[in-house]
Amino acid sequence: MRRRLAVIAVAALSLSACNANSSDGKEDKGGTEKGGTLSILTSASSVTLDPAKSQNLAITTLGLLVRRLTTWDIQPGKTAKVVPDLATDTGTPSDGGRTWTYRLKDNLKFSDGTAITSADIKYGVERSFAPELSGGLSYHKNLLVGNDGYKGPYGGQGLSGIETPDEKTVVFKLKVPYGDWPWLVSMPAFAPVPKAGDAGPQKYGQNPISSGPYQVESYQQGNSLKLKRNPNWDQAGDPVRTAGPDQIVFQLGQDSAVVAQRLIADSGEDRNAFGASFVPPAQLAQIQQNAGAKQRLVTSEPGALAYLALNVTRPGLQDLKVRQAIQYAVDKKAFQVASGGTVGGDIATTLITQGIAGRQQFDLYPADPSGDVAKAKQLIAETGRPAPTLTLLVENGATDVSQAQAIQQGLVRAGFTVNIKTADEEAVTAETTGANADYDLTLASWQPDFPSANGNIQPLFESTEVGNGGYNKSRYVNGEVDALIKQATGETDPARAQGLWAQADKRILQDAPVVPLIYTKNSFLHGSNVQNFFVAGFPAYPNYLKVSLKR
């Protein structure tokens, strides 16, 4: 249930040079040319290949390797759709939305040639409950019947909420009706895992048995992940993946500024590459002056919400008035400029992001984008105490640090003292999602895992997401909000659910546990040989499943 920028970057890639052994210039109906070696350049140093642990969107790295019951049909200019993948349809609900039945397509095979059966789906979902495999998207974990105390299949136990009446049929039993279930079964945990091929929770993720168009050829953490074709994948039964390149090489641990410079230069093998990390602001500015590179820049619609989380458990921030003062003191304009200016994103005032059905535009703390310092000072004065000294924890990347300084200078205007503390990405994630929270403020960014307001609100604000690896970085606990979330999650009528989510959005912001900053636009750069590279409205990431190379 979690998705952060950095996590998404993990999804990605690298680049490399080619040894093209391809069928020459064969085009199929979708205009996808086959062959070549695609390189994907990413700042992430590792890739989580175990489906149970992965937080990948359906259209990024793991989508190349494993199929799920459903997947996403993401095309330029079209709304995101959930479509059948291994299953014949997106699911048949019964019992008022509590039971979902799927039937597998015919002739499905793993990369080792064995048939994919319903038991493999069940086993894959069961694995996601194993404590050794925590960290993956977990929206389904609270919903399935029999989840209480369930610790995964390694102790020999099955999950009672999944039934497999025959080799082709899977039935999910949910505790509550859940209308967005077809989206949940597109997540990596719903990829098939053959029990016979699972050598253990620590080992499986090194070379997972593949069901998608590619399989792992080699993986060296911090260096590269190489994918080659899976001979047992059948294009005819998989309309979503076009599988253009013969080989895909992720170059891991690349500096994002260097990646951008290489792609701007567009020479040699880098013509067959794209960057999975966002183009940093400095290179964005450079690209604006370079017509050749500008054509190869793809910028998303406003997608993720970048926000400032206020740790409400800290002494300085327990007072609502102080948190409200921060809402006014923050300089969103400076943050936007530090994020790359108008190509970096649009000023945000709500938690539910643009493009999500049912979003209501409102602003509880109306002010100029640069903030309202007088109002902030007045709120601080009303507390009768001086503005507190706050520690702002951020990652140590150049963009993060300049964003942090933008926040700092905004708050300083209203009398706050802000100390910036930097740490590397993993340390920041561990501290902000772990039990020991030694920070007052932190910067975060959140893209819903599926196009529903549920994905905007629940992972960040439900009390169950505090300190246990969840992304409630504000440590915000409010019984009223929890009840609203529960009610909205169980609501099967979309319009009413949307109304409840909008209500939750407002209710949460009344308590000011976060400051919405901008709806970020993500910019990606690709080489001149890369085709079918696009970013649709949702999600704000390129669709790896369609990318191909000009032959």
């Binding site: 500024a257 500015a285 400076a334 400029v337 530090a338 200016g341 190509v343 150049a398 700092q408 200078q409």
Partner: protein, 289 residues
């Protein structure tokens, strides 16, 4: 001793440059007040919609003498003169730490000898081969936020700077210890503390001055390197090293952002080195020991 630095034009130019930097650092608030800027205030109006400074040379104007910083619009002149404060203060502070440690450890090791000298000498050997920059980065990363950053940098950089001066002073002390006037003082009943203070240290003065001067640019460089790598003084405190680190990404679009802090660092380290060389020639310490 002959302190006539003035005979050496390079050294004189270096000393003048050092003096200018010291003045700029000391009067940074005054200079910025004259310009009407400070190094912390954002000026988003000086930037275009993608965060690049508007205008010639990175936004050079009557308001912003060196232009502005991309993405923030902070005044680059103010950043450079306040950065001089950071660099010179850290450079001088770390040098002071290194010299004090080096003098204490080096002279005592040379004077007392024995197992103490052997321990000190091996420690110095280890420290010379120690990957100190990596250690400093690690230390900077794990130090809690409550430790004041500039003090930490001074302490860490200084703690790794003493071996060179200690080794030289140990050697010189070994020689001085056998001089007849030292032997005479000991024979007349002077204790080790008095001999050290009255007979040894005065003879090491020139060496200490020269080494201290040549240590400063190295210390400034280390501070800049740490800030460049993001583990030096915390933002927004201006630092040449951090500005240079930030500016690397902007070379293509805003080269002046690199030129000003980079030029300041270059000039300051060069000037200190030239002064140090001049002092060494003037004090002739190479033959004194």
């Amino acid at each position: 001793m002959n302190f006539d630095v003035r005979k050496d034009r390079w050294a004189a130019a270096g000393a003048l440059t050092v003096a200018l930097f010291l003045l700029a650092a000391a009067f940074a608030p005054v200079l910025c007040a004259i310009e009407g800027q400070d190094p912390y205030t954002y000026d988003l109006d000086a930037l275009d919609s993608s965060g690049v400074p508007v205008g010639f040379g990175g936004g050079i104007s009557a308001d912003h003498w060196f232009g502005v910083e991309p993405l923030t619009g902070r005044d680059l002149f103010a950043i450079v003169v306040y950065g001089a404060r950071t660099s010179l203060a850290v450079g001088a502070g770390a040098t002071a730490v290194a010299v004090v440690l080096g003098v204490l450890i080096g002279t005592t090791a040379g004077f007392f000898g024995g197992w103490y000298d052997r321990v000190v000498s091996r420690t110095i050997d280890v420290l010379f081969g120690f990957p100190s920059l990596i250690f400093m980065i690690a230390l900077g990363a794990i130090a809690p936020a409550s430790v004041p950053r500039p003090l930490l940098v001074v302490a860490v950089v200084g703690a790794f700077g003493w071996p060179s001066i200690a080794r030289v002073l140990r050697g010189q002390t070994l020689v001085l210890r056998t001089r007849t006037y030292v032997t005479a003082a000991v024979a007349m009943g002077a204790g080790p503390a008095r001999v050290m203070r009255r007979e040894i240290l005065p003879n090491l003065r020139a060496t200490i001055i020269v080494y201290a001067t040549t240590l400063i640019p190295g210390m400034i460089g280390v501070e800049a390197a740490l800030s460049f790598l993001g583990v030096g003084v915390a933002p927004p405190t201006p630092s040449w090293g951090r500005s240079i680190g930030d500016a690397i990404a902007w070379v293509g679009t805003d080269p002046m952002f690199l030129v000003f802090p980079g030029g300041a660092l270059f000039l300051a380290t060069l000037a200190f080195n030239v002064v140090g060389d001049g002092l060494r020639d003037a004090l002739d310490t190479r033959t004194a020991g």
